[in-house]
């Protein structure tokens, strides 16, 4: 899978690359690609949006930001993907043997899973097109005021442990780390569907925020 080099550099907080970094990124990309065994799953649910609440299937969530994000949608996909435990093991291994590569592996695997999620999402895109609908950007537990504890719902509804081998820790963190859960709204109106995921986030001073994506 082709990864976006600018994205990788952004994760490394590097505004530009140099020869050394280029070499490290090449190496890290190969390591990540061979360690990753990406998998995804999704499920269509009916939703009801009544700001500040959203009902996904039959479960209600209090979240102003999510209800705004899903305004106008009547259906949504619950979506999850992971790169698998191999990438966690890879990073552990390099933490012991070759620390300088670790932040680069971290950046490459972050870029990898975003790229994988985008690719996997094409299947959802097909469904949307056939039904004259548009996909909203992915919205994950922990964004805005969408509580991280909502992870439990995604894990049950999508049977994530069984299908993807991903588990939740007591504090709702996902292991393996390189995993994504998200809700993707389906809307008859394309107008809210091109906003970059960064710009709906409340974290105005986040170093990863993309300036040019409005």
């Amino acid at each position: 899978m082709e990864l976006d080099k600018q994205e990788i550099l952004r994760y490394l907080s590097a505004p530009h690359s140099n020869e050394t970094l280029d070499g490290l990124i090449d190496r890290a990309q190969k390591e990540v690609a061979s360690a990753a065994r990406p998998k995804h799953t999704y499920r269509l649910v009916n939703i009801q949006v009544k700001e500040p609440a959203v009902i996904l299937g039959s479960t209600s969530f209090e979240s102003k930001s999510l209800s705004q994000h899903l305004a106008g949608c009547e259906k949504a996909f619950l979506f999850a993907c992971t790169l698998g435990p191999g990438v966690d093991i890879l990073i552990k291994r390099f933490t012991i043997m070759d620390m300088p590569l670790v932040p680069v592996l971290q950046a490459c695997s972050a870029a990898y899973i975003e790229a994988y999620a985008d690719k996997a999402q094409l299947e959802l895109e097909d469904y949307a097109k056939e039904n004259g609908l548009y996909l909203r950007p992915r919205y994950s537990p922990g964004y805005g005021d969408f509580p991280l504890a909502s992870q439990e719902f995604f894990f049950s509804a999508l049977e994530i442990p069984r299908k993807l081998g991903v588990a939740l820790t007591e504090n709702y963190l996902m292991v393996p780390f390189k995993s994504i859960t998200a809700v993707v709204g389906l809307s008859p109106d394309p107008s809210l569907c091109h906003i970059h995921r960064c710009m709906v986030c409340q974290a105005q001073n986040c170093p990863f925020r993309k300036e040019d994506s409005i």
Binding site: L12, T20, G57, T59, I96, E123, L148, S156, V175
Partner: protein
């Protein structure tokens, strides 16, 4: 035993089909737990069981799959109540129909085990034990199913074994490549489960019958256990955004017939299957004969990832994780320096080892505790199976229990006491055990004596229920410098054990050259002679070029290396070592600035001949690190390069340390305790900060991840630390950062606290009362340096 189950392996037996997907069609909501219907809609559950029994199923899975303590807590219900209700409903259906056996159904916990996840192995056993205790008295057997992690499966099997005497069936979920989600292989699963003594094993879910038909042929070769196959009704398909399965009853049953012929003798269905699938399957397969099991028994050990088989290409067991004669290793054990021990393991893996020997025996440490820590960490970074090497039965017992796999056990002797201590462990946990030909009288001097000792070990093993193929005999390598025919006796014993007893053999090779100069000459020659006499495994140093040359050449010459590919791969690129010319032209300062480890080490070696360690540090290393730090802050170079320079500086520090052999190089004016706070398991950022701080000369105590406030306080007091660094990645775990700070403020007010992590900001750090917020790794180094200066 239940009448139906007593026919296991003699007749084809039938499981029922899906429960969850049928409940979905009856209105189970997304996210609603199927086992809750035991309480909410019991008549539906009982009705589904009955319809399967009427369709011909003989063993029904009670609706208890997800009723583990974690799920029950999440759903706010009593485990006891849900499991008992589920078991009763299954029993009721059996009563109604008049026949059938009931399986207590145990699915995965939904948690990931330590150290990759946060569930301790013993807690996993306890969790599954709760289910067993709640349901076993109403069950005819226990089905542990849909497992995608061998380690978790082992926990569930131990829970079942320790809390019931029921037959234990285990089915795991593989992908089309025959891999578990964790990456574990079919052969590893077979070795581990057979070792644990389960009644039958196999696969369920994930795949349809078509895909499983191919895998079952392969699995049949690896085990003599009865095989269970419960496929989905095909691979999942998507329509209108929903998952469905489209292999109908007719096609399903026809493929199941093939699966029986390929080796399965207990069959049924998983997701998407219906009573009609089972009806047609029983009609077609009930009269088929049970397939034959393989006669040949294999000597196999496994990690949670992969299996290693003895008897084919010789197996290399890396010997370097062992303190004997290694002062650096002893120091690592005393100082709890796990990363050093891990690096020894990974380096051997990279050098070509197939297994890693683990020996951490040192009089002054807690050996069982250290062994379990090392085994736990190693099995999380290396896929190689481990050889647990200890003379202490307590250490052996604890390590074999928590090991993720089927271990190679080093070792028993032919002494009664040794066998009495070790064989019951192998019987319970599984394993291949190395038998040393040592008797109560000592090491027999003759080959005949050693063959007799080997016989005694094999005969005694059988009495403990341990099969012959799970024993490897080591006829002992003696130093040739101490006895002229020492090597010849060993070789003769080796040959005879292979020929007369037919079991696999191993030797610790290196001992042969003890007391001689240029030991590799003798060791590698003896290695070749032993291989030629039938040696199956060698405990040796895979980092020795001479030994690996002998090994690879032997494999190429003995038809173990197809087209000499492994040999070619190992030696084609190894052009004669030309020292990189430019490395000599760098000064130490330049080498560090450029992040060149080797060059920094070489430059330091040269300088230390004429200068003191302190001159090197103040004149070269510190200025270089300063330049690098400034460039990083100006974004002229980036984090990976900063770390490269730090590692180069570390290489130079090592040279100084080795040269002085004293504390003169010790820079630390400040001891720093660092930790990822409780509840958070992300430790990459913390590890980066640690490496930087260390390489800037600070004494760093790393407490790891998920560290409770009390543990931080204890370390601060014990180490008299002047600074604490705390990391948290998620907003949810910043709360526990705040708790940690409050505790430290109350108990050790003089200690400074710095914080960092993705979600933190200066504002946030101020609010929770930190002294300093580090937006990046370098900032924490700057702060620590200032603090150290103000203290001195």
């Amino acid at each position: 035993m239940n009448e139906i189950l007593s026919k296991l392996g003699k007749e084809i037996l039938f499981f029922d089909g899906a429960m969850g997907t049928i409940l979905q069609s009856k209105g189970l909501q997304p996210g609603e737990a199927p086992e809750l219907w035991n309480l909410r809609r019991p008549e539906e559950i009982c009705g589904i069981h009955a319809s399967y029994l009427e369709a011909g199923a003989q063993i029904i899975k009670a609706n208890t799959f997800g009723a583990n303590p974690f799920k029950c807590k999440e759903n706010g219900v009593s485990l006891q109540e849900v499991v008992t209700a589920g078991m009763r409903l299954a029993r009721k259906a059996v009563e109604q129909v008049g026949r059938g056996a009931v399986a207590l159904d145990i699915g995965p916990s939904g948690k990931l085990l330590e150290p990759l996840g946060d569930l301790p192995f013993e807690d996993a056993i306890s969790a599954f034990a709760e289910m067993v205790k709640a349901g076993a008295h109403l069950a005819d057997c226990i089905l542990i199913e849909t497992m995608n992690d061998l380690y978790e499966a082992k926990a569930a099997v131990l829970a079942a074994k320790e809390n019931s005497s029921l037959p234990i069936f285990v089915t795991m979920t593989f992908d089309e490549d025959g891999k578990l989600l964790t990456g574990g292989s079919l052969q590893a699963a077979a070795a581990v489960l057979e070792g644990l003594g389960v009644t039958a094993m196999g696969m369920n879910c994930g795949l349809g019958p078509r895909q499983m038909a191919g895998l079952i042929k392969e699995l049949r070769q690896y085990t003599t256990l009865p095989l269970i196959v419960n496929p989905n009704a095909g691979l999942p398909k998507e329509k209108d955004g929903l998952t469905y399965f489209d292999v109908g009853p007719e096609e399903f049953s026809q493929t199941m017939e093939e699966i029986v012929k390929s080796g399965a003798c207990v069959i049924g269905g998983c997701c998407g299957t219906t009573p009609e699938h089972i009806r047609q399957t029983t009609a077609l397969c009930a009269s088929l004969p049970c397939p034959a099991v393989p006669a040949e028994k294999r000597t196999v050990v496994a990690s949670g990832m992969q299996a290693v088989e003895f008897g084919g290409a010789p197996v290399i067991i890396g010997e370097r994780i062992n303190p004997t004669g290694k002062s650096r290793f002893k120091q690592a054990l005393r100082e709890n320096d796990l990363p050093y021990i891990m690096s020894e393991g990974i380096a051997q893996q990279d050098a070509g080892a197939h297994l890693l020997d683990v020996n951490v025996g040192l009089p002054e440490i807690d050996e069982p505790e250290m062994m379990c820590r090392v085994v736990g960490e190693l099995q999380a970074v290396s896929p190689l199976p481990l050889q647990i090497d200890t003379a202490d039965p307590e250490t052996m017992a604890r390590a074999m229990r928590m090991y993720n796999g089927k271990a190679l056990v080093n070792s028993v002797t032919a002494k009664e006491a040794s066998m009495r201590a070790i064989f019951p462990l192998v019987q319970k946990y599984g394993g291949v055990v190395i038998g040393l030909t040592i008797t109560e009288e000592g090491i027999p001097e003759s080959a005949e004596g050693r063959v007799q000792a080997a016989k005694r070990i094999l005969d005694t093993a059988v009495e403990y229920g341990i099969a012959r193929h799970n024993i490897i005999i080591d006829p002992l390598t003696m130093a040739v410098s101490a006895g002229q025919d020492a090597a010849l006796v060993t070789l003769e014993a080796l040959r005879r054990i292979r020929q007369e007893l037919g079991v696999c053999t191993s030797l610790g090779i290196s001992n042969v050259s003890f007391g001689l100069p240029q030991r590799d000459n003798i060791t590698s020659a003896f290695f070749l002679m032993a291989l030629e006499n039938g040696l199956n495994a060698a405990i040796m140093n895979p980092k020795s070029a001479a030994m690996m040359q002998a090994y690879r050449a032997f494999c190429a010459l003995s038809a173990y290396d197809e087209n000499c590919m492994a040999y070619i791969e190992a030696y084609t690129q190894a052009a004669p070592a030309v020292a990189p010319a430019q490395s000599h032209s760098y000064t130490l300062q330049e080498a560090i600035e450029k992040g060149l480890k080797e060059a920094a080490s070489q430059a330091a070696e040269q300088l230390i001949q004429t200068k003191t360690g302190l001159e090197l540090i103040d004149g070269e290393i510190v200025p270089a690190l300063d330049v690098v730090g400034q460039k990083f802050e100006k974004k002229a170079l980036f984090l990976p390069q900063l770390l490269m320079s730090a590692e180069a500086a570390k290489a130079a520090f090592e040279v100084i340390k080795n040269h002085l052999g004293s504390q003169e190089s010790e820079q630390s004016k400040l001891t720093i305790v660092i930790a990822t706070v409780k509840g958070d398991v992300h430790d990459i950022g913390k590890n980066i900060v640690k490496v930087l701080l260390e390489n800037y000369g600070f004494h760093v105590i790393d407490l790891g991840k998920d560290v409770p406030p009390e543990a931080v306080l204890e370390a601060v007091k014990k180490e008299n630390a002047g600074l604490v660094g705390l990391s948290a990645l998620m907003t949810t775990t910043v709360a526990s950062m705040k708790d940690t700070i409050s505790l430290l403020r109350a108990e050790v007010p003089q200690c400074k606290i710095m914080v960092g992590g993705a979600v933190l900001t200066q504002e946030y750090a101020d609010r929770i009362g930190a002294d300093f917020y580090g937006p990046d790794a370098m900032a924490s180094v700057r702060y620590a340096s200032q603090l150290a200066e103000s203290l001195s």
